[in-house]
Amino acid sequence: MASFLQRLFGSEKASKDLAKDRLKLVLIHDRASVSPSMMEDLRRDLVQVISKYMDFDEAALDVQMAEQDNMTMLEVNIPVSSVKRNAGN
């Protein structure tokens, strides 16, 4: 009852929302770590798309999952050597 009142007056988040938020975070991590092959596929697809527009050092392309401020980020670092003249047309 106490927790119900607390929630009614907005001082506490419903515990199921906490469960959901925690699950979403942990699953992003689980899913990414379960399939390194998915990261490899993602990397390959990125190379294909980006090389339509820019020249870059494929070996230096860095793709990884990272945690930051309670958020899961997909970090992609691509050192670009040149942009193609007709890119975007």
């Binding site: 419903a14 515990s15 199921k16 925690r22 979403k24 942990v26 689980d30």
Partner: protein, 264 residues
């Protein structure tokens, strides 16, 4: 030609065996020819849930290793003439059968019956691999709890990696009161997280414990809400379009009074 449906979960204790027993019995009640197969070698339980523990002579290891014929290893159910149980072995371990052996047993059973319901052990090791070896379809059982949903997600990934894409979800032990109060994840919450097709929702029901005590699957209990939920699941497996039942219990005056005196 029969169909092999494996019942999985990853986490233990979420109601895999109960679900397998109820789906199998429910299909038999609909006139289908069914074999329930327990692949949890070393920790067999489907026999006691079905109330058939006193009838066991041979088990899945005996069949796999050719110590008996397939038909001899199929225990006849008490209630339905065309419902059978193949029990797991209790004194051996998961390596007592191979994936090829399970695949062969499933292939042979498919010639004989309409449905083979395989009860999978908890975990993701060899026992899991054996259980899914001959499966055409998979059911994932989970509870509205963080740990069970996390494990379900892992199992869904492993099923897909093993050619069992599009498994269907049975959400077990839902407590509508807690969902309403925001203290339990709802069906929609869990479907959003797992992104999987829903086969059915089973409300938390004391009748499950009582019927398991008796060795009688709840699906046959016309008064039980969990039984109704399992009957709906069976109909969906048979291709009927059955809407989700309303989980909210209309409590009558006497039920409320009784609760008051019981102090819960």
């Amino acid at each position: 030609m029969g169909e092999v449906i494996v019942v999985t979960s990853g986490k233990g204790g979420v109601g895999k065996t109960t679900t397998a027993a109820n789906i199998g019995t429910g299909l038999a009640a609909q006139g289908k020819k069914v074999v329930l197969m327990d692949t949890d070698i070393g920790l067999r339980n489907l026999d006691v849930v079905m109330g058939l523990e006193n009838r066991i002579v041979y088990d899945i290891v005996d069949i796999a290793q050719g110590h008996c014929k397939l038909k001899q290893g199929m225990i006849k159910d008490k209630r339905y003439p065309e419902l059978y149980l193949i029990p797991a072995a209790q004194t051996k371990d998961k390596s007592a059968v191979t994936e090829d052996q399970v695949r062969a047993i499933c292939a042979e059973l498919k010639q004989e019956v309409d449905y083979i319901i395989v009860d999978c052990p908890a975990g993701i090791e060899q026992g899991f691999k054996n259980a899914i070896a001959g499966a055409d379809k998979a059911i994932v059982v989970t509870n509205p709890e963080v740990s069970a949903v996390r494990d379900a997600d892992r199992i869904i990934g492993l099923l897909e990696a093993n050619g069992l894409g599009n498994p269907q979800l049975v959400l077990n032990r839902v407590r509508p009161n807690m969902v309403r109060q925001g203290d339990m994840m709802s069906v929609d919450d869990i479907l959003e997280i797992l992104a999987i097709k829903l086969l059915g929702v089973i409300p938390d029901d004391d009748n499950i414990v009582i019927s398991t005590n008796r060795g009688e699957p709840t699906v046959l209990d016309q008064q039980s809400r969990a039984g109704q939920a399992y009957r709906n699941i069976v109909k969906r497996i048979l291709g009927e379009d059955v809407p989700l039942m309303n989980l909210e219990v209309e409590e009558g005056f006497f039920a409320k009074l009784k609760k008051l005196f019981k102090g819960n």
